[in-house]
Amino acid sequence: MVEVPEHLRKRAEEARAKAEAAKAAAPGGDAAASDEPETTEAQAATTPDSGDAASKIPAHLLERSRAAKAAAAGQADAPAAAAPAAAPAAAAAASAATGPGGHTQRLLTVVKSGSIQDVKSMPQDKVHVWPHLLVVEFAAALFITAFSTIFSIFVNAPLLELANFNETPNPSKAPWYFLGLQELLTMFHPMVAGVTIPGIGIFLLILAPYIDKNPSNKPEDRKFAISLMTIHLMFWAVLVMIGSFFRGPGFNFVFPWEAGLFFEL
C-alpha cells in the first residue's frame, strides 16, 4: 500500500467532492448546448416533453434554443426566394444521418489495449521532482555548505614552511588517498606497487559490470560479488589507515598512541 501524504489526500477528497457537486448541478447541460445548433425542427418539438433529460436542462438554455430556432425559421423564410432548396436539403441530410433514437454513432467492437499495443513498461509509483526531490537536494546542499563553513572556521588548512629541496621531512608522505599505494611500496618493487597494482585495480573496477553477469541486484543473490568488493574496499581502507597513522620516521611502523601522529591532510 502506497502512503499518500495527508495534505494530498485531503486535496483529492475536496476535488472529488467538487467534481461530484458540479456533475449534480449540470447534467445534460453540455449536451443540450452542443446539440442546439443542429437540432432539426422535428426533434426540437419533442425535446420539451421528453421526460427526465429535458427537465434537467436549465431554463435559460431552453429559452435561448427556442429563440434561436425562431430566428432560424424566420431566416429560412426570408431568403427562401434566393436559395429555396438549401434549407430543406440540410434538414433532410441531418435527419438521415441520425440512427434510431437519435444516435449518431454506434459501437462496432471493443479492442483491448494488450492485443494491439505492446505494453513494455507498467505504470510506476512516481512523485513530482518539485517539491519532493528538489527539497531534499536543497537541504543536502545547505547541510554540506554549513558543514564545510563551520568546519573551516574552527580547523585551519595546513601551511608548512616554504618548500625546501635541501630538507626532506621525515617521514615524507603522499596525500592520504595515495598512502595505500605508498604502503604497498614497503612490500613490493615500486613498479608493482605504484603502477601495476593500482592499474589492474582500476581496470578491474571499470570492467566490473562486464565481468559480473548476474542480473539480480538483490544482496542475497550476490554474495560473491559483495564479499569480493567488501574485501577490496577493506584492503585499501586498512592500507590507507596504516600508511596514515601507523607509519613514523623512515616510514617505519609505529603506534600513534606511543610515537604520536605523523599525518597532515
Binding site: 521532482v129 526531490l133 528538489l134 580547523v155 588548512a157 615524507s172 613498479m191 603502477v195 582500476i202 550476490r222
Partner: protein, 265 residues
C-alpha cells in the same frame, strides 16, 4: 481649506502604506518583464498555485529540466537509498569551483611567489583563510564522497545493465577527482606539498617502458620546480575541471537515459 484634518476619514497611514505596497507588488508581478523572467510554473510568478500542472512546469520551464525529469520513482527520493552521495559530490564540486575562483585572484603559480601569496591570502585578505580552509576541506570531503558513492552504487548492484557504461564513466570521474585533488596538493608550495608530490611522481616514474617520459611530462622537466607548478596549476584550474565537467554531463544524462536511479532492492 485649512480645516481638513479632523473629520477626514482616510484610513490610518499604516494601512494606506500596506495597501500601496501590495499594489506595487502586484504591479511588479504583473509586469511583462517579470512574467518573461519567471515562466509558467515558477513559484515567483503571479497566481502560482500548488497544482500538479504547476509542479510539472516548475521543472519543464526551468533549467532544472536538463538535470531532472518532471517525475521520478517514489523510492528515488528516499535519502536512505542514495544517502545523497552523488548529489553531495556534485555540490562539493560547485563549492570547490566557487572557492577556487576566489583563490585564483590572489595566487601566482611560480616557485618564487606561490607560498608568499598563500601566506598573504591567509593573513591579509578578508575571508582569505576561511575560503582556503573551505577549499581544502571540501576537496578532501569530495574524494571521500566519491569513494562512498562508488561503494553505494556497487552494493545496490546499480552498475548492472542498462547502467554498465555509466559505471565506467563513474570510475573515470573517480580518477579525475583524485587527479584534481593531487594536482591541487602541490600549489601551496610548502614542505607538505613538495614532498607529497615528490613521493607521488616518483611512483609514477616507475611506469613500465616509458616511465621517464611520463615523469618528464608531469614535472615539465627532470625535477619539481617552477615549471611543474605552472603545469599542475593549469591542470588543476582548467584542464581537469573541463574534462570532469564533460564527463559529469554525460554521467547525469546517462542516469536519466538509463531510466533514473536503479530500482529498489
Amino acid at each position: 481649506m485649512a480645516i481638513d484634518t479632523d473629520d477626514d476619514i482616510k484610513p490610518p497611514l499604516k494601512e494606506r502604506l500596506s495597501a500601496q505596497m501590495s499594489k506595487l507588488g502586484n504591479d511588479i508581478q504583473g509586469s511583462q518583464a517579470w512574467s518573461s523572467i519567471f515562466r509558467p510554473g515558477s513559484i515567483f510568478r503571479k497566481g502560482y498555485t500548488d497544482s500538479p500542472r504547476n509542479r510539472s512546469y516548475v521543472i519543464m520551464n526551468s533549467v532544472m529540466y536538463h538535470l531532472h525529469p518532471v517525475k521520478v520513482k517514489r523510492h528515488a527520493v528516499k535519502v536512505s537509498y542514495t544517502l545523497c552521495l552523488g548529489g553531495l559530490t556534485f555540490f562539493l564540486f560547485i563549492l570547490l569551483t566557487i572557492t577556487g575562483i576566489f583563490l585564483m585572484f590572489f595566487y601566482r603559480p611560480t616557485a618564487a611567489a606561490a607560498w608568499d601569496d598563500i601566506y598573504t591570502l591567509q593573513t591579509s585578505v578578508t575571508f582569505g583563510l576561511l575560503v582556503r580552509n573551505m577549499h581544502r576541506w571540501a576537496a578532501h570531503l569530495m574524494v571521500l564522497t566519491v569513494f562512498l558513492h562508488m561503494a553505494r552504487v556497487f552494493y545496490h548492484g546499480a552498475y548492472k545493465p542498462p547502467r554498465e557504461f555509466n559505471w565506467v564513466i563513474g570510475v573515470i570521474l573517480l580518477t579525475l577527482t583524485l587527479l584534481l585533488s593531487f594536482t591541487g596538493y602541490l600549489l601551496p608550495w610548502d614542505q607538505l606539498a613538495l614532498w607529497a608530490v615528490t613521493v607521488g611522481t616518483n611512483m609514477m616514474g616507475y611506469t613500465p617502458v616509458f616511465g621517464d617520459q611520463v615523469r618528464f611530462v608531469l614535472l615539465g622537466g627532470f625535477d619539481i620546480g617552477t615549471d611543474t607548478l605552472l603545469r599542475w596549476y593549469v591542470l588543476h584550474v582548467l584542464m581537469l575541471p573541463f574534462v570532469a565537467v564533460i564527463f559529469m554531463a554525460i554521467h547525469f544524462w546517462r542516469v536519466r537515459k538509463d531510466g533514473g536511479i536503479s530500482g529498489p532492492l
